[in-house]
């Protein structure tokens, strides 16, 4: 059955069983391999993507629920040449160890920063409560998300203000 999905602003037609979880469609049909398969049970967060601004676990969501909705994956946050603020901050602070959980962490953080550019540590921890990291880079992840918030704010300031501040 053909299903239309909008991922990172681009429309796609995929021919899959409508019960297929989004994660499999992203990886197998659209070659977007950023979102990772961790537990397959919606408990580890490594498959997190953003749907209409909210963090969602793609391993649990059948694609039939996603027609007409805006899906953003980590590939939508920037490119190697031009990393987005979250990616830039994670590189700057070397927040990844093995890196498997990081796309999910960044997508949860993306959803958080969209609604709150200056979250407190408690708010970051709450938003990432279902994102597990086994390497233990949590402190750097926290720092990177704070840094990304700063980068986003700086980028959104009008030029004149930036000049004064600089």
């Amino acid at each position: 059955m053909s299903i239309s999905l909008t991922v990172n602003g681009r429309p796609h037609q995929v021919d899959v069983d409508p019960a297929t979880p989004l994660l499999y469609v992203l990886r197998d049909d659209l070659a977007l391999n950023g979102a990772k398969y961790g537990c397959g049970l919606g408990q580890c967060g490594s498959c997190t993507v953003v749907v209409d601004g909210e963090a969602v676990l793609s391993c649990m969501v059948p694609v039939m629920l996603l027609e007409g909705r805006e899906i953003t994956t980590i590939e939508g946050l920037g490119t190697i040449e031009e990393p987005g603020p979250l990616q830039q901050a994670f590189i700057e602070l070397q927040a990844a160890q093995c890196g498997y959980c990081i796309p999910g962490m960044m997508m949860s953080a993306h959803a958080l920063l969209r609604r709150n550019a200056r979250p407190s540590d408690a708010e970051i921890r709450e938003a990432l409560a279902t994102n597990l990291c086994r390497c233990g880079t949590h402190m750097r992840i926290l720092a990177a998300i704070r840094r990304a918030g700063e980068l986003m704010q700086a980028a959104s300031l009008p030029k004149a203000d930036k000049g004064r501040a600089g």
């Binding site: 019960a19 979880p21 049970l41 749907v51 649990m60 969501v61 059948p62 039939m64 279902t130």
Partner: protein
């Protein structure tokens, strides 16, 4: 002349009535005890008080999540307006630092504060009046040895004229049965202990018994189900809808661990209760289970028969599999919209082979699906079960961003039809919409499962 006499009689009657009411309503102030907050207590007494405070779940109402434990200020919504819990840390100005033990005993016994003001029954003194003086002494010792926190609770926001506290004297006259319970010599020691814990500090009926128009527990419908913080507190009498009826063992296990394989995990306000009960000895947990199951009574033969079949299906040593969302992709075509969503989004966990508390409960075992009011299952679908902070716990992702009101209603209607023999739920779409919008307010708390107080209410440890 005759008219004047009538007037005089009327005035006299009013004065007498006012006098009688004043006499009834008036309570003396108990003088401030300047030394109370500095008093020292035997460590054993404080330890016993800690257990009792856990049984009473005091921390849940008397703490705003994220704020210091017992410092009050939590908004408690009631049909009569919002009441803010008080600071029960030993701060002289804003807490109970100036309260003598006598004042504390009176508050527990009569629902009157140190200054002589009647307290609103949101403070469940209709239960706490059953607590022994000895246990109140231990509770007092525990609370007076907590760190003093300066924190003033906001003013209550109540409908006129309920701000006027002497009116509570009339409420008490009508609904308040003061004092400890008479012993029932025909019952076992465990039952008697259980009744003391349940009826007194445990105040189970405060949520599990419905309330009348005046906010008092309706004793004729004892334990037949009530409401708390936007959640349904299920019937825990003969009307319990648990597909496999509770027995002493399963109830004790659930209260001890926060989950049971035939009943699922505790959640909503009950997660705080089971979290707190971890402070109690096994004997007390067992006593509570003995008493509560005696109220439930034996199941009817039909219910027993059905339960035996379910046990056969869900008991025993099946191989636990770490199922995943792709292990059984079920084609969604053909069925109703609700069925398609259930099979694609719910069944992978809820019909998986993963055991409680981490696997999804099979809905053949679910009280929620059989409940007269679908509120709890709506809450869980929309908001999920947030994980406990820093500890292993049950967790379910929220579906509010993925499912429309109609879709949630479709799934629930399908589940009701498939997993329950009860009548279909009415008004599902509206209920989901009101829950989502906050018109029906729901308190979302981390699951309990494994987590333990004070973390489970988000209190700062004191």
């Amino acid at each position: 002349m005759w008219a004047l006499r009538v007037v005089i009689v009327c005035v006299a009657a009013i004065v007498l009535a006012a006098g009688a009411f004043f006499f009834l309503a008036w309570r003396s102030e108990i003088p401030e005890d300047a030394a109370a907050a500095e008093a020292t207590f035997a460590p054993e007494l404080v330890a016993k008080g800690a257990q009792l405070a856990a049984l009473g779940n005091c921390i849940a109402c008397h703490t705003v999540p994220g704020k210091p434990a017992f410092s009050g200020g939590l908004a408690v919504p009631t049909p009569f307006g919002t009441i803010y819990s008080t600071n029960i840390t030993p701060d002289r100005e804003t807490g109970i630092g100036g309260w003598s033990e006598e004042a504390f005993q009176r508050a527990m016994n009569e629902g009157v504060d140190r200054a002589g003001r009647h307290l609103y029954p949101a403070f469940p003194y209709d239960h706490f009046t059953r607590v022994s003086a000895e246990d109140n002494r231990a509770l007092y010792a525990f609370l007076m040895t907590r760190p003093a926190v300066k924190a003033e609770a906001p003013q209550n926001d109540l409908q006129f004229p309920l701000e006027y506290r002497p009116l509570l004297a009339a409420w008490k006259l009508a609904f308040f049965d003061r004092g400890e319970l008479e012993p029932d010599t025909s019952q076992s020691e465990a039952w008697t202990r259980g009744r003391y814990l349940v009826e007194g500090l445990g105040h189970c009926g405060a949520c599990h018994t419905p309330r009348n128009a005046f906010g008092a527990e309706d004793r004729d419908q004892y334990f037949s189900g009530g409401e708390a913080e936007g959640w349904q507190a299920y019937a825990i009498n003969k009307d319990s809808k648990a597909p496999i009826p509770w027995d002493e063992q399963s109830l004790a296990f659930y209260l001890r661990n926060g989950w049971h394989e035939f009943h699922g995990v505790s959640r909503g306000p009950m997660a705080e209760v089971t979290g707190n009960l971890s402070g109690l000895p096994d004997s007390d947990i067992m006593a509570i289970a003995t008493y509560v199951t005696s109220i439930m009574g034996d199941p009817t033969p039909e219910r027993g028969q059905r339960a035996a079949e379910l046990r056969e299906t869900f008991e025993g040593d099946y191989r636990e599999q770490a199922g995943d969302s792709q292990s059984s992709p079920v084609s969604a075509s053909g069925g109703s919209p609700g069925e398609a969503i259930y099979l694609a989004a719910c069944a992978s966990c809820h019909e998986g082979q993963r055991r409680q508390p981490f696997g999804g409960l099979n809905f053949n075992l679910s009280t929620a699906v059989n409940a007269p009011n679908p509120q709890n299952i709506v809450n869980v679908v929309l908001f999920g079960l947030p994980p406990a902070d820093g500890e292993a716990s049950a967790v379910m992702p929220p579906f509010r961003h993925l499912l429309s009101d109609q879709q949630v209603a479709d799934v629930l209607a399908y589940m009701r039809e498939r997993f329950s023999e009860e009548q279909p739920w009415a008004g599902l779409v509206e209920l989901v919409a009101n829950t989502r919008s906050g018109a029906h307010q729901v308190t979302i708390r981390p699951s309990d499962g494994i987590e333990r107080a004070p973390h489970n209410v988000g209190a700062e440890e004191g």
